[in-house]
Amino acid sequence: MTDFGASNSTPDDAVIDLARFGFDDANDAWLHVFRNAQIVEPLGRVGEYELQAEIGRGGQGIVYRARRTRDDQHVAIKRLIGGKFATADLRRRFEREMQAIAALNHPNIARAIDVVDDDDQPVIVMEFIDGESLTTWARAHGNRRPIAEVIPLFVDVCDAVQHAHIRGVIHRDLKPSNVLVTTQRRGESRSYRPVVLDFGMARVLNGSDLPSNATTSGRFLGTLAYAAPEQLKGDLRPADALADIYALGVMLYEALAGRNPHLVAGSLGETVRSIQEKMPERLSASVPGVSRELEAIIFKALSKAPTDRYQSVDALAADLRRFLAGDPVMARAPGTLYLAGKLIRRHPVTFAVGLSIFALVSTLATALVVANAHEKAALRVAKTTSDFLAETLAAAEPDRSGADVTLLEVLAQAGNRAERELSGSPEAAAQVYIAIGKTYNSLWRWRDAIPHLEKATQLLRTLPDLDDDVLAKALTSLGRAYTSVRDPKARQIQEEALAIRRRLFDEPDARIAESLKELAYALQQATDPPQWDLAEACYEEAIAMYHATLGPDDRETASCLHNFGWMRVRQRRYADAVELYRQAIDTFRRTNRRDDPFYVECLFGYSAQLSVVGRDEENLDVINELVPRLRASHGESEIGDLLWAKAETLVQLGQFDAADDVYADAFTAFFDWCDIKTPSTDRDADALCDELIDHLPAMASDKTGPALSVVEAFAHSRIAASRFERAEAIFDRLNPGIDQWAPDAVLTRASILEGRAEIANAGGDPLLAQQWLSRALEIVDKPGFPFDRKRAWLERQLAVILSDPTTHQVDFQRLTEVYERLADVYGLDHRRTRETRQLIEKLRREIPPQ
């Protein structure tokens, strides 16, 4: 007893109580007491289920672990808290929510098995998940799970929440204990399935919503640590989809950092203040492996203002997927030419996105009428289809959280309705599925499109008098969706569509051309390995056929050229890409259709590739044309990146004064983007650069990285203009703080060292230059980080500095090696590769072979 503080301050009563546990008794009595405590009687029965123990409580429901007596199956049973005391409203709500949950069918949501009535009380029977909570799983028994395991699991969680959202169900109590992770073992390998539980606090958006106090009952029902700032305001308003997104952000932060982003251990007031006012501590600084991209994603989800967050869970999931694939993420601040890169990665179908989404669906409906009006039966089908879509649209409520979500709800409803109401008209149902699928495609929601388009093709194949081209169209859209998710089925589907059309139509025909174009795209996007040669043949045939049918200047021709150009970029055949983009642009210029948004997209691709191959004068013309067009279509806030590109192009052309004017505008745009008040007086680029450095220590974490790269790039422009002292002064100002502001800004730090090397070399100190470069190489030599290009370039710089033509000490073998490495990572057409080749050729001319 002495060990456990049966001290003087303990009342005798407590000592007596402790005696009940048998610690002081003979024959290990305590062990028996604890053993017996583990054997608990069933709590009761509900229908054929024996309730074994309570396993949790949500806002309104109690969950029990139960056993179905007839087959011993374990289930979870949920009943309303408050039982008979529950108000009629609460009961109605519980029942309505049970129906909503019963309608959810997703592999990552605990499945509803049955709804039973128990003594006049509603009870829901659900799948029992034998897993560990997300928190326990993420810690993996003391060690942090690798990011490569956490993020894909989290994407599954997002998919589940999104599945509920588009059906109008908001979870409202997302927290790690509501996500159980089950482990499947196959031999040595393990896979993990997260399951979202407890929609007990869920709010159903459709129908006549109850006043908020019906669920909040005058107190906060969610779990504070995962509550969004807006939920903690005085009015205790019910959480919406954006609060779920915030909670996902908290959970992801916690899964990676092992701690809540806020101070939640203190008093209620401290917790609320922390959630409402304090920026969480940065992750990339403290958690190994968390990159700036990933951190930016989490911080975007954690934005205090709901409008700054992702506007749908799907957008969050999409960014996480981009992160996993190594693609640029939307949360991350743009760097130079980032936007251009982003845009040229898009595919031609996206010009539809510019349209209002509602107009899109309406247009589809109208298009169906027009397209099929030539036949009476077809007209009937088209009428059914368009009426159906019009009705679904009319039923939509436009005031939900973001237009995107609203449309998705409409689409989900349309799918469900089609299944129920159009079963007697399979052709109309197929048309609706095609319309839904194509709309999802135009929103890049390929995975949502696939099941609808699959259904459409299946239905069409069962029709006795099938219109083969309708099937070909459906297959084309389906193939496009599969291509976009890199599913190898794409090729086979597009081949089938092409075969159908070749059979139906006489060549040349624009519909055959379309299938050729889509097949080419499927082949170029194939991953193991890409079928470049086959894709090239298809593109060439498609372009020729479009020429012959729609004419050389049709938009389809341009779209084909654009896609072909993008394939050349992927092949690192940049010069060929430039040529194809130019041809695409010419189609618009010849017909004076420069206002077409797709023209802007083609210009972006053209500009980016001109920059890569070093055709700076032409690029400057293109950028000058782009700036006003982008300003008109995307607004001032998107101009910044283009201005950086323009300034850098001017530097390449040696027009340093003109470049500085543009740099000043670019800095101003950057201040704008950072929400820093733009300095009022007319200041030059150098002064603005200094001002930006002043702001660095206090800058929001997601802005520091981009700000640093902007300053560093500006310093390099000083080097190009031989203003070495100025460049050095900038580097010196960055030097003391950079590790603290952006510890993982590896490339920026390497570039600073590279700049110092250039300065040292220009100042006649190649030895010092070598030292700087060696340090830069050490930095990028970080295992697991894809810095191949930077490493190759630094090696090249080192080799060039080591070659001294004045003393004829040129190591040609080394130079050739670095050239080959550059050709490998940058491609032969890249300006860096080409300039290196030219340098070696020049040295060979100057230095006779020994």
Partner: protein, 197 residues
């Protein structure tokens, strides 16, 4: 009791009706005890859950005035009386639409007035055992927990030692440490329950 102690006890925190975390913690800690006790007294589960709600309502009224006075009884007994009272009222008014429950007058509460409620004490003891076991499992070396589970399930020291390839002496040590740890955990739980920690 000093209300300024940095780590206020659950009971102290429950005096603030707005400290939802405290109320949640309390319900998580004692809800099952109330339900199991009611079931043992013959109530249906749904009735037991209703009583649990009534008890919470009752406590929410009485806790702001609650003052711990060791000389008049422990919280365990106070809670038992509240529950028993709730059961009585619930059964009496079962069919009324307006179900209410009076709070036990604190001043009338004293130890020894009622006969020992053996079932309550049994359930209470078991609840504390399960809580302590959960803590032990969570905080201890998983291998030691595995060994201890075998002992808990009735294996002899010899048998457990053979299964895990350990010496009986090591198993004995694990058992001894588990006992000490459980004793400390229970002592802490009891002190916290009575607002002494």
């Amino acid at each position: 009791m000093n209300p300024d102690t940095t780590r206020a006890s659950l009971l102290l925190r429950m005096r603030d009706p707005d400290d939802h975390r405290a109320w949640h913690d309390f319900d998580a800690a004692y809800g099952e005890l109330i339900v199991r006790y009611c079931r043992a007294r013959g109530l249906q589960l749904s009735d037991a859950e209703d009583v649990r709600q009534l008890v919470m309502l009752s406590l929410s009224k009485s806790m702001p005035r609650f003052e711990y006075r060791p000389e008049i009884g422990r919280f365990r007994d106070y809670l038992r009386r509240t529950v028993r009272n709730a059961i009585t009222r619930y059964m009496q008014r079962h069919n009324n639409d307006e179900i209410g429950i009076d709070t036990i007058a604190l001043e009338s509460m004293s130890v020894g007035d009622d006969a020992m409620d053996a079932e309550w004490d049994r359930q209470w003891t078991q609840l504390h055992c399960r809580t302590a076991l959960r803590s032990l499992r969570r905080e201890s070396d998983p291998r030691h927990v595995d060994v201890f589970e075998r002992l808990l399930n009735g294996d002899s020291i010899q048998c457990a030692a053979e299964s895990f390839g350990m010496s009986p002496e090591s198993v004995r040590k694990i058992k001894q440490r588990a006992k000490q740890r459980l004793q400390a955990l229970i002592a802490r739980q009891l002190r916290q329950e009575d607002g002494l920690d």
